[in-house]
Each structure stands twice: as structure tokens, then as C-alpha cells.
């Protein structure tokens, strides 16, 4: 579904876009298309939901959010929808997904929680628990970050 020009444009957008007054014109010259064609295609990706936004991604530690924890929840199947909606309202929760349970790991909803430190993350988990009535959860703080990059769709 991606043609050759789409692939070339995605390849440009998956990294850093040019830091000059006309970034899409620069991209256009690299991919061999007009600026209007590139902008038209990029807008169409956004309209189709392929592209969420063209934006800055921060090193969150540098931005002052040092704590990050994956908090996993054991939510009764018929309450998952409600739990997800409530957890999503917390600004410290950046990601919230339903996932399959694993052997000896009966947790079915995963939240990524960010805060100033581990205690701040634990406090958020307690607040989510209080707001949802789901009391079985596990805080999996990261012990070590081995890798963090952005997706490379087009090599």
C-alpha cells in the first residue's frame, strides 16, 4: 500500500526532519518530488491515521521525569474497558493497553507511568487502584535501559 514515493517520504520522516525554514521543500528535493506533492502526501498520512503528528520526542529523564515504571494490572475481564478509560485519565499514564496474560503472570492491562521518581510512580499506581477498585497490580520499575530508539520502518 506504500508506493516508492511514500516509502521515501516515510524514511525521511522516521528520523529527524530538516531544521531549516522549509523542511518539506528540503525533503522534496531529497525524494525527487515537488514540495506540494510531499506536503499533500504527508497531510494524507495524517488524515488516514498513519501519522499521528510531526513532533519532538524528548529524553524524558532530561525533561525532569526520572521515574518510569511499567505497572501491570489483574483486571476482571468484564471491567477492562472501564479500567482502561479511568487509567487513561491520569496525566502520568502515557500508555495503557490490554494484553494477553502470560504463564504465571496473570496481568492483563499494562500502563506506563512517568513521574519525578519511583515513589511518585508508586503513588500514581495507588491512586489508579483507589479510583478503579483493582487492587492486584505489580510495579515493574526499569532496572536498566539497554536500548531506546524510534521505529525504523524503511531501512
Amino acid at each position: 500500500m506504500l508506493d516508492a514515493l511514500d516509502r521515501a517520504i516515510v524514511k525521511e520522516l522516521q528520523g529527524d526532519i530538516p531544521l531549516d525554514p522549509y523542511p518539506f521543500r528540503t525533503i522534496a528535493s531529497r525524494v525527487g518530488a515537488s514540495e506540494a506533492e510531499v506536503l499533500g502526501r504527508v497531510r494524507s498520512y495524517w488524515e488516514r491515521g498513519w501519522l499521528r503528528r510531526v513532533a519532538a520526542v524528548l529524553y524524558h529523564q532530561a525533561a525532569g521525569y526520572r521515574g518510569n515504571a511499567m505497572v501491570v494490572w489483574k483486571v476482571p475481564p468484564d471491567q477492562v474497558e472501564r479500567f482502561g478509560r479511568v487509567a487513561a485519565t491520569f496525566p502520568q499514564v502515557t500508555h495503557c493497553y490490554e494484553r494477553a496474560v502470560l504463564p504465571d503472570f496473570p496481568y492483563n492491562v499494562y500502563t506506563m507511568v512517568h513521574g519525578d521518581d519511583d515513589e511518585a510512580c508508586a503513588e500514581v499506581a495507588r491512586a489508579i487502584s483507589a479510583a478503579t477498585g483493582v487492587s492486584e497490580y505489580l510495579i515493574l520499575s526499569s532496572v536498566k535501559e539497554y536500548k531506546k530508539t524510534s521505529a525504523c520502518y524503511i531501512p
Binding site: M1, L2, V10, L13, Q14, G15, D16, L19, P21, Y22, F24, R25, L39, V42, R43, W46, W50, L51, R52, R53, A55, A56, V57, L58, Y59, A62, A63, G64, M70, E81, G84, A87, A88, T94, H95, C96, Y97, E98, R99, A100, F105, G115, A120, V124, A127, L138, L140, S141, V143, K144, E145, Y146, K147, K148, T149, S150, A151, C152, Y153, P155
Partner: protein
């Protein structure tokens, strides 16, 4: 970092307008010139505040497959196994965490079969057999956006 930097970071995290001169539009919103806007972005990258300024795609909508993977690795082997996992460009995030499953990473591949083949290769190379794909079911929230301008006393009220 000053107040203008923080307002700029908030605007940049929300997203650039998809127009010919997006930096001029962001600069106007923040109240600085386009030239100063570009200069500040360049500095915030150099200082290691901005990791990337580019497209944020919906992996699945774009037609790619992504999944979280949980791995139970003997603790003494963790660094070695993690290094093997991190070698693959398809692996975007890779973290050690405490617990029964102690290595968690995310994969982005063309198709689900490609992810399975990659995990088979990781099993063969590391000897660690307990590897599970845990793809997302319902998605309730995705928002990797860290408010900057509200840092300080307001942020303390988050909890």
C-alpha cells in the same frame, strides 16, 4: 532552560503544523522569530533534551506489526542476552525489569511472521527458551507527551 524553551517544547511535542513553514508557525505561537526558534531547537537537541524531531507514526495503521516481548532470562545472563536482543534494528526499546520476566522489549516488523522468525533466531542464539509475544489488545491511551510549562508547583498536584 527558560520559560520560552518550555513553551517551545510543549508546542513541539503537540506537533508541527503540516505547512510549508512549520517553524515560523510554532515561533509565532511561542512569540519568537523563526530564526530564534530554529536556533533554540538546535540547542535543545545538542543539550540532549530533544531526542528526535520527526514523524510519529501509528505502526499498525501504517501496515507494520508491533509487539511487546517478555523474556525470562537467568539473572547472570541478562547483560549478554540483552546485548543480543539490542543488536536487531527491529528492536526499539529494551529494558531489564525485576520479576519472573526480567527482560522486556518492543519489536516493529513488517508482518507478524517476521516477528516470530526474529524471536526464533533470538532463542537459537541465546539459548533462552522462555520468550513470549504480548501484543496489544484494546488500546486505551498512547501519549508520549511530557508537559513542560506546568512543571513546578502545578506538577506536584498531579498525583
Amino acid at each position: 532552560m527558560d520559560g520560552i524553551d518550555r513553551r517551545l517544547l510543549d508546542a513541539l511535542q503537540r506537533g508541527l503544523p503540516l505547512c510549508a513553514r512549520p517553524y515560523a508557525a510554532v515561533a509565532a505561537e511561542v512569540g519568537i522569530s523563526e530564526e530564534e526558534c530554529l536556533r533554540r531547537i538546535s540547542r535543545l537537541k545538542e543539550e540532549g533534551i530533544i531526542r528526535r524531531l520527526g514523524g510519529v507514526f501509528s505502526t499498525r495503521a501504517l501496515g507494520f506489526y508491533s509487539t511487546l516481548v517478555a523474556m525470562a532470562v537467568p539473572p547472570e545472563d541478562l547483560d549478554r542476552v540483552a546485548a543480543v536482543v539490542s543488536e536487531y534494528p527491529e528492536v526499539t526499546h529494551n529494558y531489564a525489569r525485576r520479576g519472573r520476566y526480567n527482560l522486556w522489549f518492543t519489536l516493529v516488523t513488517g508482518r507478524e511472521e517476521d516477528a516470530r522468525a526474529l524471536l526464533d533466531e533470538i532463542v537459537a542464539r541465546t539459548g533462552v527458551k522462555e520468550v513470549h509475544m504480548v501484543p496489544a489488545g484494546r488500546v486505551f491511551k498512547i501519549r508520549a507527551h511530557f508537559p513542560m510549562a506546568v512543571r513546578g508547583e502545578e506538577a506536584a498536584g498531579y498525583a
